[in-house]
């Protein structure tokens, strides 16, 4: 009986080891990247030589080769970020559809919100001053009476 239990346990262990080895082998083979996988990265890049054309929609042969390059690197296990970093190292930061935050590119991210905030602050100040001005105008004393104007108005009243 004890011998049978030991044999069963050994068989179960051998089966588990076989299953683990097969699963590991399957996981080691990266699946072939689909077009959607490739375009997920290509969409974040511009064609290195065309003007402002995203790499996923660029129709040239050169762009097809760059997309093939992305596919090969994905198949070799590269992550999206590694591929993007490779393209930047190879073709410069201008290939990124979203500018980096390094160097003068930081201005692209900082200036628009600063300008919007500055504009809102300017309008707030303007509206505040405009609201204060009518109150001051109401409190101003009436101009002194002009005797000539009073005489003129009296004559006009009499002629009616």
């Amino acid at each position: 009986m004890a011998k049978r239990i030991v044999l069963l346990l050994l068989a179960a262990a051998a089966l588990a080891a076989t299953i683990a080895w097969a699963a590991g082998a399957a996981w080691a083979q990266a699946p072939t990247p689909s077009d959607n996988d490739v375009n997920r990265v290509a969409r974040q890049l511009y064609c290195p030589v065309c003007q402002n054309i995203p790499l996923d929609v660029c129709p040239t042969d050169a762009c097809a080769k760059w997309r093939a390059d992305i596919r090969d690197r994905m198949a070799a296990g590269w992550t999206d970020q590694q591929i993007m970093d490779y393209f930047v190292a190879k073709y410069g930061e201008r290939v990124l559809s979203n500018p980096s935050t390094r160097g003068l590119n930081l201005l692209i991210w900082l200036v628009p919100p600063i300008v919007v905030a500055g504009g809102l602050a300017f309008w707030w100040q303007f509206l505040r001053r405009a609201a204060v001005r009518p109150a001051h105008a109401a409190a101003a004393p009436p101009p002194p009476a002009d005797p000539y104007v009073a005489e003129l108005e009296k004559e006009l009243e009499e002629r009616r």
């Binding site: 290195p48 030589v49 040239t60 042969d61 050169a62 080769k65 760059w66 390059d69 930047v88 190292a89 190879k90 073709y91 410069g92 930061e93 201008r94 003068l104 201005l107 200036v111 600063i114 500055g118 602050a121």
Partner: protein, 180 residues
């Protein structure tokens, strides 16, 4: 008599900050505009220095090549006019290789696989390497490929062509430099 003197207007720090920011952005825009209008390089200018690591691993630094005539050619495998001039470049290189002339090919915006296939296909034997980050292309302000520049022994541009070149043109430019 009323006192007509008024207190000086006080500049708030945030107003100063905003104006400084505006002038800084305008300064950057102006600088970029000046750069973009600089145009192509021309003969007589000092050749921009560069370092190129060739596909065979050798590194070439232009400043270290003083005393030699250096022909710098920008190309790409996807560029048809580059393919047309490739045999002329190789033939010219073979004519001058032992006479103090170095040809250097700068691969512009190309994959390594295609670039190496291009070089093998045309039997190019002079050093070629990828222009990583397009730094060399930007330094030379190229507007496309192919473009060819010849740097004389003192580091000045003796020839600059923003179109395909020919063996005859290259030899006409190189011979006077070697006969100085």
């Amino acid at each position: 008599m009323t006192d007509t003197t008024t207190a000086p207007a006080r500049v708030r720090w945030w107003q100063l900050f905003i104006w400084l920011g505006v002038f800084a952005v305008l300064g950057v825009v102006a600088w970029q505009l000046v750069r973009s209008r600089a145009g192509s390089l021309h003969v007589g200018q000092a050749a921009p220095d560069f370092t190129l690591t060739a596909f065979d691993g050798q590194t070439y630094h232009l400043a270290d090549l003083r005393g030699k005539v250096v022909v710098v050619n920008f190309w790409a495998s996807w560029c048809q006019p580059c393919r047309a001039e490739a045999p002329d470049l190789e033939n010219t290189w073979r004519h001058y290789r032992d006479r103090g002339v170095l040809f250097v090919g700068v691969g512009y915006a190309d994959t390594d696989t295609e670039a190496l296939a291009y070089l093998k296909g045309f039997g190019i034997s002079y050093p070629n390497g990828p222009d990583l980050g397009t730094r060399i292309s930007q330094a030379y302000r190229i507007t496309g490929v192919p473009e060819t520049y010849i740097v004389d022994q003192s580091g000045r541009l003796a020839f600059a062509k923003q179109l395909p070149t020919t063996q005859a043109e290259l030899m006409a430019a190189i011979d006077p430099l070697l006969n100085k």
